[in-house]
Structure formats: structure tokens, C-alpha cells
Amino acid sequence: MTKNHQQFISTRKRQLATASPGAWGRNQNLTSFTSGTRLGPIANVVLIVLLVTFLGLLYLTQLTKTSTFGYEMNRINVEKSQLAAEQNDLKLENARLQSLMRVQDSAVAAAMTTPVDTSYVE
């Protein structure tokens, strides 16, 4: 020991005894505290099981949520298909109503007459 260096010696012998050699050294003002409460092996297992269960539930929740989106997508797709089919039916009906055959057979066409005489503007 030199005069230029102060030295602190802890009185907590038990703690010093249990400290790892690497954590302690000269002129290092360190201390370590350890809780008096210790978990036994059963408590550790229970905690791990609880943790795994929690994670499992979290996973299942997310999975279910994702699946719900699948049902929602399917519902929208079915609705989309039905609307497309209805649109197609309307398109067909529109085409039928505008067909030349339909126009020729219409009441308006039936009321038309052939002109007696035709003259063309030169």
C-alpha cells in the first residue's frame, strides 16, 4: 500500500466472499446487492409455463384476427362477384333492348310508313 492511494475495505465479508474475482479489484469502489427472496424451481417452471401460454394466446389471437380478415375478404369477393353478375345481366338486357331486331319490332317502327314519293335535294 502506498500513501498516495486510499483503500476502501468493505465490511460485508459475506458479499465479498461470494463476489466473482473479476468484479472486484483493487481501488474499485463497487458493491453488490442480492435480494433475499429466491424463486424455487417450481416457481420458475410456473413462470415459464405462464409466459409460454401468454405468448401462445397472443399468437392465436393474431392468427384468428388474420383469419377473420380472410372471411371478410371472402365476403367482399362474393359480393363483388354478385354485383359483377348483376352488372353483366343489365349490360345484356341493355344490348337486347337496343338490338336492331327489337327496334324493328317496336311500336314506333310499326307506326312508320313508306313515303309515297321521294325527291332528293340536289
Binding site: 380472410g70 371472402n74 354478385q82 336492331l100
Partner: protein
């Protein structure tokens, strides 16, 4: 004191439990690790549902006068209603519902099979519409299912039936555009693969999800004009009825683009009911599939070729003797009232003189129908006018016809003489009208087409440009001469003048003899044709029209070309002039 066992019962129990656990662990290890692939495949088979998304077949549209697109062929999703007798509960309820909803589409004879539990598929109704299918679905009957299929719908009925063709039960295009464009119309199927629940509803989980959308078939806009097509079909039907004919065809083409604006054949059929047609010949498009000897409508081609090689001129004259001897064959004119006259080439066309066109052929060989004359004429027919070649119009099964080689050992002189007035060669109407358009439009041969364009993703028309095949069919000056000669035929005829009303219209009739199957010689019923054009006030040709009447009955002294085919041309040309607002 009793000695305690070395291993207690608790320890035995523990060992036992560990042993059982070990069995489970080993078994699970075997299943999950060693046999992983096998069970993964089995699981995928149960959970992953893969289905093909059928593409929608392309549709056809036509133009109206104002350019509006009108559907000619559309798709409709229809449903087949079926039942599984092993699953149904209430037969009477099913019967009543199907009869009430499907009506005429219900297959009532199959209702008795609902009691037959040896089968699991009984068709109760076909071609049920979406609205009807919804009513059946809403009833939620156990054991009753719906199967969606697609069918073609034709809002315009039989309009342009042979041009369109039809789609068979396998979804394959048959005849016409449907067959020719089948690949483009079909599109490409898509794939939907995902994990599904027990009801086969896709779930958005799993690494196996695949979603490749189907690529629908191309939608086409045809060059056919609905108004002209409908009128052509009506005029053709009336024209055939007047001469007691049953078979006839008309094609109308833009001379400056090659686009077909009308293509009609009679008798026709309803493509929606193609399965009710008993004579498959009705499916054929006569204009592209049935070559024939067209008769005197070929004369303008002969005169045009002879003028183009410089053998004759428009005003060249010849002495009409009424008949000429070619080898051992005597070729005569139908009309003998011009015998002994000196006539020019316009008069040869106007009076349709066979001797005149034979003379023109002789001039191509220096005064004889020698190999040079025949070779030159053959070159014009096959290389310039492009006969005996496919025009590549978008109709399946196009025929190419037949023309004898110029160096054929037997009867080449007689055959080539006959060919000058349209006998002894086989060509299709489409070949003739396209070559005719080229011969009068300045010499440009456009590939004939029925396609105006396609419809893109935004619903806009993407127009297809006309395709030029050749520009030297005839020299421009010769083409102009030919056009004016054809116009003169009509403009100097009081009968045709009343139809033309001063508009620039030209044309030539033709009546061809056919081979009598009984004798194997000419003498069968004649085929009448008319080939003409409509031009604007500058004389620029706009439309070419060709008419064919197969089995017309006309008065003695008349020909089917002038009495059966020409009136149809007159009527159609007048309509097109008014419809398109052609000026004079």
C-alpha cells in the same frame, strides 16, 4: 424392522410416467421429424385448396353509323342446378321451388331421380340466370347446388352468323372469327391457392397462398357496320326471294383500307342455337370458304392485266365475230347483237363479250394464246391479283381456289381462254373483291380484315392500322382507266342510272355456268355475280361490293348475274351512298 425397498413405489411411478412420456416423445419425434415431409404433404392436401380461375372469353363489338360501339357477342354466366339425393331432405319443396324459379329451364323428367339414392348428381335445371340462381341459393335447400358456366349471348340474333362462328360446349370457337381468334379470345387461366376452412373459404394465413389473376381474352371491335350489315342481310333475303333462290352472299369492303363493313350469307342460323342446325354446310362462310367459277366479273381483271402489260389500251378495238375457235373449242358471246362490229374495250365490258377478252389474252402473247400469253395472264392472276393465295382474313378455313398452270399439257389454250371470262378457274369471293379493290384504287392491295381494333383495359378502342400487302397490282394510270371503264358501264345505262342518281358507281355482272353432276359437263344451274364499287365526287373509290346468287331462277333471255345479283347490288349501293353520306 422391515427393510424398505431400494426403489420406492413413487419412484416406480415416476419411472413409469417418464417411460410413457418417452414413448410419446419418440413417437412425436418420428412423426414430426423423420416423417415430416409425408405428413406435411397430407396436411397440405387437406388444408390447401387450389382452384383455377377461368378467364372471361373476349367479346365482339361492332360500330354504328356514329361510331358508337354496340355489342355483337357477349358472355353470360348461367348456372346448372343439381341435387344430391343422398343429402336432400324435402323432395317436394325442391320440386316446387325449381319449377317455380326455373320454369322452362327446369328438367322435370329428372325430378323422379330425386328418390334414387344410388346417384349423387341429378341435374334439375340448366341455363338458369343469375337472378334465378340467387332465389334458389336463398332457399338454402340441403343437397341442392349450383354450378356456374359461361355461355355466349347474341343480342343481334343471327346477324353476321357465319362471320362470327360459335362456341361449342367445350368452350372452343368453331368456324368464323371465333375459331380463327380462339387463342386470343380464350385468354389465360389464373390460379388461386390458399389454406381454407372446412367450407373451402380461403384464409389469409400460410406460406402457400398463391393468387395469380386470370387474363381475360381480348375484346375485339369488328370493322362491320351494324347498320350496313343488317341492311345487306335484309336486301339479300329480299333479292333471293324475288328470284326463288335460297343461297346467296354479299360482301362490302372499304377500298382504301381493306376493312370489311358487311359480310352476309344466306341461309343463315342463330349462333345461340347452333346445336339445332342439321346441315353443317350452313356454318360455312361461302365468301371465304367456297371457291367458284365467278363468270364475267373476271373480265375487268383480264382487261386490266392486258392494259397493264401494255398489250392493249383502253381504246384498243377489235372485230367482234361473235364466236372464235380456240383449238377445238368454239367460244361464243351470249349476246349476238354486236356481231361484226368494231368495238373498244369499254364496250367489251359493257356487252360482256367473251370474244373480246379472249382477244385481249391473245394480245398478251403477241396475237396468239401461246405460253407467253398464258404465263403473263397466270402471273397477273396469281402474283398481282393474288388468286390461289389466302387473303388471311380472320375467318377459319379459308380456301385458296385453283388455277391451272400455264404449261399444263392438255387444253391449256382452251382453259386459259375460258379463264378470261371467269370459267375454268376457282376463286373465292373474298379473293375477288380484294383484288378488285386494288385494281381500281390505284393498285394498292390491302389485306382484308374484319377487325377494326381491340379494346384496352380502360375500355378504349385501340385501332388496328390497315395492312398494305402490295402497291403494284396495276399501274395507277391503268387502274384509273379500268375504274372509269367500269363506271361507264353503269353511267351509260338508263336502268342503272336510276339507282346511281349521278353518284360515281361502277360495276360488272357475271353469270357462270356450273358443271352438271349428272353429265360432268357444263350445263348445271348458273351462278350470278355482281362486282362493283361506289366512289365519291372525285371518283375516289370508297366501297367495293360483291354479290353472289347461287340458285336463282330468272326469265328466259336473262342471266342470273343481271337479273338476280345486280338488283341486290343496286339496292345495297344506294343504301350505302345514303347511309355514309357519300357526295357526288
Amino acid at each position: 424392522m422391515e427393510e424398505r425397498p431400494k426403489i420406492s413405489r413413487t419412484q416406480w411411478l415416476t419411472f413409469g410416467l417418464f417411460f410413457i412420456l418417452a414413448i410419446f416423445v419418440v413417437r412425436l419425434f418420428y412423426i414430426q421429424i423423420i416423417e415430416h415431409d409425408k405428413y406435411a404433404v397430407l396436411a397440405d392436401q387437406m388444408q390447401i385448396n387450389k382452384r383455377t380461375i377461368n378467364p372471361e372469353r373476349g367479346e365482339f363489338f361492332v360500330r354504328d353509323k356514329d361510331g358508337t360501339l354496340t355489342p355483337l357477342v357477349l358472355n353470360q354466366t348461367v348456372y346448372t342446378v343439381f341435387a344430391d339425393p343422398t343429402q336432400i331432405n324435402d323432395i317436394e319443396k325442391i320440386r316446387n321451388l325449381i319449377q317455380q324459379v326455373a320454369g322452362g329451364q327446369a328438367i322435370t323428367k329428372n325430378f323422379d331421380k330425386l328418390n334414387d339414392t344410388s346417384t349423387q348428381y341429378v341435374v334439375l335445371a340448366r341455363q338458369v340466370t343469375h337472378t334465378q340462381a340467387e332465389q334458389i341459393r336463398d332457399a338454402d335447400l340441403a343437397g341442392v347446388g349450383l354450378q356456374a358456366t359461361s355461355r355466349r349471348v347474341y343480342p343481334e340474333g343471327s346477324l353476321a352468323a357465319q362471320t362470327l362462328g360459335f362456341v361449342n360446349v367445350d368452350g372452343e370457337g368453331q368456324y368464323g372469327l371465333e375459331q380463327y381468334l380462339n387463342q386470343e379470345l380464350t385468354g389465360e387461366p389464373g390460379v388461386l391457392q390458399s389454406v381454407t376452412d372446412v367450407r373451402h373459404i380461403p384464409l389469409t394465413i400460410g406460406a402457400h397462398d398463391v393468387s395469380i389473376p386470370a387474363k381475360n381474352g381480348t375484346d375485339y371491335v369488328l370493322s362491320i357496320d351494324r347498320g350496313i350489315q343488317a341492311n345487306v342481310e335484309r336486301v339479300l333475303a329480299d333479292g333471293l326471294a324475288k328470284v326463288g333462290a335460297t343461297k346467296g352472299s354479299v360482301v362490302v369492303m372499304e377500298t382504301g383500307t381493306g376493312r370489311i363493313v358487311a359480310m352476309a350469307n344466306l341461309p343463315s342460323y342463330d349462333p345461340a342455337s347452333y346445336n339445332q342446325v342439321t346441315d353443317a354446310a350452313i356454318f360455312q362462310n361461302t365468301i371465304t370458304m367456297r371457291p367458284y367459277e365467278p363468270g364475267s366479273v373476271i373480265k375487268p381483271f383480264t382487261i386490266g392485266a392486258a392494259m397493264d402489260v401494255g398489250s392493249i389500251g383502253r381504246y384498243s378495238t377489235f372485230h367482234n365475230t361473235g364466236c372464235v375457235m380456240i383449238a377445238d373449242a368454239r367460244i361464243c358471246n351470249l349476246s349476238r347483237q354486236f356481231d361484226g362490229q368494231i368495238l373498244d374495250m369499254t364496250e367489251v365490258l359493257r356487252y360482256s363479250l367473251n370474244t373480246g377478252v379472249v382477244w385481249a389474252l391473245e394480245q398478251m402473247g403477241g396475237g396468239d394464246i401461246n405460253l407467253t400469253a398464258r404465263q403473263r395472264f397466270y402471273d397477273y392472276l396469281t402474283e398481282h391479283y393474288r388468286f390461289v393465295q389466302k387473303t388471311n382474313i380472320e375467318i377459319s378455313g379459308e380456301a385458296i381456289g385453283l388455277i391451272m398452270q400455264p404449261d399444263s399439257p392438255n387444253g391449256a389454250k382452251v382453259t386459259y381462254s375460258n379463264m378470261t371470262f371467269g370459267q375454268g378457274l376457282n376463286v373465292t369471293m373474298i379473293q375477288v373483291i380484294v383484288a378488285f379493290a386494288a385494281a381500281i384504287n390505284g393498285g394498292t392491295y390491302y389485306q382484308p380484315t374484319l377487325i377494326l381494333g381491340t379494346i384496352n383495359k380502360n375500355g378504349e378502342l385501340v385501332e388496328q392500322k390497315p395492312k398494305t400487302i402490295a402497291t403494284d397490282i396495276l399501274k395507277p394510270e391503268m387502274s384509273k382507266n379500268l375504274k372509269e371503264m367500269l363506271r361507264a358501264i353503269r353511267s351509260e345505262n338508263p336502268y342503272t342510272l336510276q339507282f346511281d342518281r349521278g353518284y360515281y358507281v361502277g360495276g360488272k355482272s357475271g353469270t357462270a355456268e356450273t358443271i352438271d353432276p349428272a353429265t360432268g359437263k357444263y350445263g348445271g344451274p348458273t351462278i350470278g355475280s355482281y362486282l362493283g364499287f361506289i366512289g365519291d365526287e372525285t371518283g375516289e373509290p370508297k366501297y367495293a361490293i360483291m354479290v353472289r346468287v347461287d340458285d336463282g331462277h330468272v326469265a328466259a333471255g336473262s342471266t342470273t348475274g343481271t337479273a338476280a345479283a345486280q338488283p341486290i347490288f343496286d339496292e345495297i349501293s344506294r343504301f350505302v351512298i345514303d347511309y355514309e353520306g357519300i357526295t357526288k
